[in-house]
């Protein structure tokens, strides 16, 4: 076999492997769309479930997931971005910052069900929040923080050192340099990180299982201390816990969750490409 044939064979194999990655995602989306699209209707999206959830809509689960995602955002964005600014711009290389980084790496490796148990122990029981939007949002926020911090820190570090130097040489304080030069240049990376983190939070089941998610609620929440239904948990419930559930409704629920999560993904890609076009260094 000559070397050109070897190269063709190699590229062929690599192309096949790359294709293997694409196949499952296409199949997943196709399966869910084909089986679930029939369930999607205005009524399905905007009404309460009834008849043991075998009929009606999934409105409260959609509202719950949106509320939880917003709650997570409110808690995790300021802490995450603030922490990233500190680590990237101010922290010296000491045992403390090394410990913080080690903690971040380990946090992102913790299984999500462990966050759920932690949230149950700390927020629900010890801090007496009960199973509530507050407890669930805080649990999801803790799970999201490592993602936001590490992606934001990376975005900040990608801004050339030179810009900070120039800002300092013009008589800017370090904070003025960060505020006026570094942050504007890092915005797209930071927003991408935030969306990726929230995306994961919105789709998780285990952390909300013990902290907020309700099996079935006849009404919408009225305060942050109320439990809510949430899409991922609702999907689990209708798929395994309700006998005689029409499959179309199961797939319909999955489709709504998928669309919510994927649309956040699309928005984050759009933001990224918008800022990338403006950035020119």
């Amino acid at each position: 076999m000559n070397r050109h044939a070897i190269q063709r064979l190699g590229f062929g194999l690599l192309g096949f492997v790359a294709l293997v990655v694409v196949i499952p995602i296409v199949l997943i989306i196709a399966l869910i769309v084909v089986r679930g699209a029939g369930a999607i209707s205005w009524e399905f999206l905007t009404t309460m479930p009834y008849d043991g959830m075998k009929a009606g809509g999934i409105f409260p689960a959609i509202v719950g997931t949106l509320l939880l995602t917003m709650g997570t955002a409110v808690v995790s964005i300021p802490i995450g971005v603030g922490g990233a600014i500190y680590l990237s711009e101010y922290a010296k290389d000491t045992w403390l910052t090394r410990a913080i980084r080690l903690a971040l790496v380990n946090l992102s490796g913790v299984p999500s069900v462990v966050y759920g148990l932690f949230g149950l122990g700390l927020f629900v029981l010890f801090l007496r929040m009960g199973t509530s939007i507050l407890a669930g949002s805080l649990t999801l926020a803790i799970m999201t923080l490592p993602v936001i911090i590490s992606t934001s820190e990376e975005a900040l570090r990608a801004v050339p050192m030179e810009f900070r130097t120039v800002s300092a040489s013009l008589g800017g304080t370090r904070w003025q340099g960060i505020r006026h030069v570094v942050l504007p240049q890092a915005t797209s990376g930071i927003i991408t990180g935030i969306l990726l983190g929230l995306l994961r939070a919105g789709g998780e089941t285990a952390p909300i299982l013990f902290t907020v998610a309700a099996f079935y609620l006849p009404k919408l929440p009225t305060s942050p201390l109320d439990p809510v239904m949430a899409l991922p948990y609702h999907l689990y419930v209708v798929s395994t816990q309700v006998p005689g559930m029409p499959p179309q409704m199961q797939y319909g629920t999955a489709l709504v969750l998928l669309v919510l999560v994927l649309s956040m993904n699309v928005v984050s890609s759009l933001i990224r490409s918008y800022f990338r076009r403006r950035r020119q260094w």
Partner: protein, 256 residues
Amino acid sequence: MSAKFAVRDLDVFYGRKQALRKVSLEIPEHQITALIGPSGCGKSSFLRCLNRMNDTIPNSRITGQAFLDERDIYGTDMDVVELRRRVGMVFQRPNPFPQSIYDNVAFGPRVLGARQFGRLDEVVETSLRGASLWDEVKDVLHHNALSLSLGQQQRLCIARVIAVRPEVILMDEPASALDPIATLKIEDLMHALVEDYTIIIVTHNMQQAARVSEQTAFFMVDDDQVGVLVEYGPTREIFTHPRDARTEGYVTGRFG
């Protein structure tokens, strides 16, 4: 003629390595002073002591004294941030922010509080005129600064410095990335600027030092590879009647 800077017995260290030893000199106001010498002789390190940009390098340390208008640059009562506004800096590689031309010039006044600098549009125009760039960019003020040629970018960086009304402009090989025409424009600009500012330029290019400067300081490494000031005086004397054999060897092109 008074001294803008007075430096006495200045040593600079980076970690355990000494970069400069016992440098003493006085730099006159409203003149162009050139710092020349082979690579690694500490001339840029010296320049960065004058606005304390060396502070930003970890493990850097200085001993000795440096005064700006008879005030100790390294004294405890010196506001470093204000010092850097008064002693502006132009870098080797043109480094405008990836923003519009207007925003680049307006950056300093905006960050430092535009009110003390007057109306922003006027500051931008005066600064760009001061940097001989206004006529070339007045119709494209809101275009990205990186669309300019390198020479224009460097003059934009000078305009950005002028906008915060410094007293001194430090230039660290400002023309070494530029072609000869752009270099000439920078040199013409320096002659115009010296009316209002004290200029200190580090350059590898001896002809440039001879063309633009009134005073020249020649740096070189000694036997321990530590930078020292070999000779300092009026440029004409340094180039025609150097007192030190090493200076003569360098300016006549025998090494370096």
